[in-house]
């Protein structure tokens, strides 16, 4: 009975009644770490910024709920995840986290948030219904990237140079795999039993075999006009048909188009300064890249592999998501 009551609370929080204005707005959302807001861009108005959502301080990673009624954003300097009503473009609730949340995930049943707290050396599981921290899973220092697949949670530790394999139910690390230096983000390819890890400092992608929890090999990058030492990969994304991977190369100011099967680099597209965040439109036609040191978003036509537009979005853009 008690459980049912809480579920109703959840429904109010995350699963609002369908609204004509909500899902499929086509809007592009960009979190700006230093402007403390999310810029909302409308592709129908040539990607003009049509709204700004004021958030907690230092908004970073963002995820939609499955129904697209809610957008969640981790606010690193306020130790909270803000819940945004996508129809109203307003923060309607806040979920307290540990110290300095950066990256988070919503479990498939949308009951649990997994949050990496970079100042706490832990990943925490937060019950969405009662907003309580259920479990704290100790990791190496500065945990960041998260991925969830087959009931297993993966987390990077930027300082320990490892990827933790975590049993989320037991709340503990089962094994840790040493990868390159400063591992940042994760991308799962369950179809190939692969986990991709962006190593910012060693400048490569570590490929992990998720059946054996073993490092397979490294993928390296040579964008035109830059040396290996300039290549600092962070963001990872797959096209929705899973046939093309996109990797932002940080200080090398390019995004790499990679064949996920062969790992061959098909193209390097020049973007803005310190490219981190990356997202793909639902039709796999358009790619969005946030540039943290030039305060803009680069919009790329995937078929022609050309940047078609850059839009000023705010100070230190971090992540980008598309509601389409």
């Amino acid at each position: 009975m008690h459980r049912l009551g809480l579920s109703c609370a959840l429904a109010l929080l995350l699963l609002a009644p369908a609204s004509a204005f909500a899902s499929g707005t086509g809007y592009v959302f960009v979190s700006n770490e230093q402007s403390n807001d999310i810029a909302v861009l409308d592709p129908k108005s040539d990607y003009a910024v049509v709204a700004r959502i004021a958030t907690g301080r230092r908004p970073r990673d963002m995820h939609f709920t499955k129904d697209r009624q809610r957008l969640l954003v981790a606010c690193g300097d306020d130790d909270e995840i803000d819940v945004i009503d996508v129809a109203a473009l307003k923060v309607i609730d806040r979920i307290k986290t540990g110290s300095s949340p950066e990256i988070f995930l919503l479990s498939p049943d949308e009951r649990t948030l997994f949050v990496s707290d970079e100042e706490d050396s832990s990943v925490e599981a937060i019950d969405v219904e009662d907003k309580k921290i259920e479990r704290e899973i100790q990791t190496g220092p500065e945990p960041e990237g998260l991925a969830l697949g087959g009931g297993i949670l993966y987390a990077t530790s930027e300082m320990a140079d490892v990827v933790h394999v975590i049993d989320p139910a037991a709340g503990r690390v089962t094994t840790s795999i040493v990868v390159g230096s400063r591992p940042r983000r994760l991308l799962l390819r369950p179809e190939a039993h692969e986990l991709w890890v962006s190593d910012e400092m060693s400048g490569d992608i570590a490929l992990i075999d998720t059946k054996a929890d073993r490092l397979l090999r490294m993928v390296t990058f040579d964008p035109p006009g830059f040396r290996r030492i300039d290549v600092t990969p962070v963001g990872l994304a797959l096209s929705h048909d899973r046939k093309l991977a996109f990797i932002t190369l940080g200080r090398a100011n390019h995004v790499a188009f990679v064949d996920p099967e062969t790992k061959a680099v098909l193209a390097y597209v020049l973007v803005g300064s310190r490219a981190w965040g990356v997202a793909v439109s639902h039709d796999d036609k358009t790619l969005f890249v946030t540039n943290g040191l030039s305060d803009d978003l680069t919009i790329i036509d995937i078929a022609s592999r050309k940047a078609i537009k850059s839009v000023a979005v705010g100070r230190t853009p971090h992540s980008v998501v598309v509601d389409d």
Binding site: E119, E142, M159, V162, V178, I229
Partner: protein, 400 residues
């Protein structure tokens, strides 16, 4: 008498320090890497910390807390490879005492020893300990000749040299086209070394020294040409003033007192440092916060960063080689395979010819990091970090 004091201090040095061992969860560590930490008791470099009438001119502080933060981090990393890290600290008031302390630390298992010593003391120690199976990490002596004519195979440097810092400043001035520089120099030997290093950097990056003038710390009207900043900076045309003043007691009065409205760099105004607590990129805030927790109310400075970086380099070597063996770790550190995350951007490694850690240099005022060197306008045939400090062709050190 001095010997006796040294022995007493060694007893005080106490047991190995290993804060994170109790947190070990996934099986007991099978191997240990033992580190040592050695400092000079009554080191004159720290005497000026409290300065005049208790007003702190520059809160240098000893760098030990940086090493402690490093050991704590190393243990959280070591958990995953079943290697633990421990550190023992010792101090002594003389060259003999330091050599004895190093032997004692080595006798207790320490093979990597961080040293917070003035340049001469470190040079003496490295000679006296040449036969010991010990590698020192210099965390605070910037002397160029420790990486040149006086270099030693048993000393790695995580502290940047004077040359790296003055090259960083010269690159910045060159990119701003502030090419004509007035050099002001204090009376100490260190002041002379800093001024000399800057002059070499000026030549390297195409700056012009319009004049070099000596100042003195006094209010004697008969010496006003030397102690009055306005008088000292008149009669020349320059874009910028470089002031070499290790004591900082003169340099701090130079900005705004120059006869021409010109920026000041060197030991006041814009300063080249291994670290600034104001640095907020590349994971720096997390490091600052870990340091502040350990050393409150102090903030991390260059030497504390260098101590942290030394421990981190050893931990990286252990992680990458999966070993706690001294020869294996030393060989890895000497190779160019190290990708040390310095929290300053580009990965660091030790130069094979002089064992100096390659690293970006921060150019900071008291309120902001204005630029990081190398500046993007300066390129290099292999690694742009080698535009800072003595590159292999011009180095007087041949350890490769």
């Amino acid at each position: 008498m001095i010997k006796k004091t040294a022995a007493a201090l060694l007893i005080l040095a106490g047991a190995f320090y290993s804060p994170a061992l109790s947190q070990t969860s996934a099986g007991a560590p099978e191997q240990a890497v033992r580190l040592g930490y050695l400092e000079l008791a009554n080191d004159p470099r720290y005497a000026s910390d409290a300065a005049y009438a208790g007003i702190v001119l520059r809160a240098m502080g000893r760098p030990f807390a940086g090493a402690e933060v490093g050991v704590e981090e190393a243990n959280t990393i070591g958990r995953f490879i079943h290697i633990s890290f421990e550190m023992a600290k010792a101090s002594a008031p003389s060259a003999d005492g330091l050599a004895e302390a190093a032997r004692d630390l080595n006798g207790r298992g320490a093979q990597f020893i961080l040293t917070d010593l003035p340049g001469d003391a470190l040079a003496d120690l490295s000679r006296a300990a040449a036969a010991l199976p010990v590698t020192f990490f210099n965390v605070s002596a910037p002397d160029n000749d420790l990486r040149g004519a006086r270099c030693a195979a048993n000393v790695f440097h995580t502290a940047p040299s004077d040359a790296m810092k003055s090259d960083a400043l010269a690159q910045f001035l060159a990119t701003r086209r502030w090419r004509d520089v007035l050099v002001l120099k204090g009376p100490s030997a260190r002041d002379g070394e800093e001024a000399q290093s800057f002059k070499q950097s000026a030549q390297k990056f195409g700056l012009r020294i319009v004049d070099e003038r000596s100042f003195s710390l006094s209010r004697n009207p008969a010496m006003r040409e030397e102690n009055n900043v306005a008088l000292l900076t008149q009669g020349a045309n320059y874009d910028v003033v470089f002031v070499a003043d290790d004591s900082n007691d003169y340099a701090r009065y130079v900005p705004y007192r120059t006869v021409l409205p010109r920026p000041v760099v060197g030991d006041a105004g814009l300063q080249a440092e291994a670290w600034s607590w104001l640095w907020d990129r590349n994971g720096a805030p997390q490091l600052q916060h870990r340091f502040e927790k350990a050393a409150f109310p102090r903030r991390m400075n260059g030497a504390a960063w260098a101590a942290w970086a030394a421990v981190k380099a050893v931990a990286q070597a252990a992680l990458r080689t999966r070993s706690a063996d001294y020869a294996t770790l030393k060989s890895f550190l000497s190779s160019e395979e190290l990708d040390l995350d310095t929290d300053k951007g580009r990965p660091g490694s030790f130069r094979s010819w002089d064992r100096q850690l390659r690293q970006p240099i921060l150019l900071a005022t008291d309120s902001a990091v204005i630029a990081t060197a190398p500046l993007p306008q300066f390129l290099h045939r292999t690694n742009v970090l080698d535009t800072l400090g003595a590159d292999e062709p011009e180095s007087q050190c041949r350890l490769r």
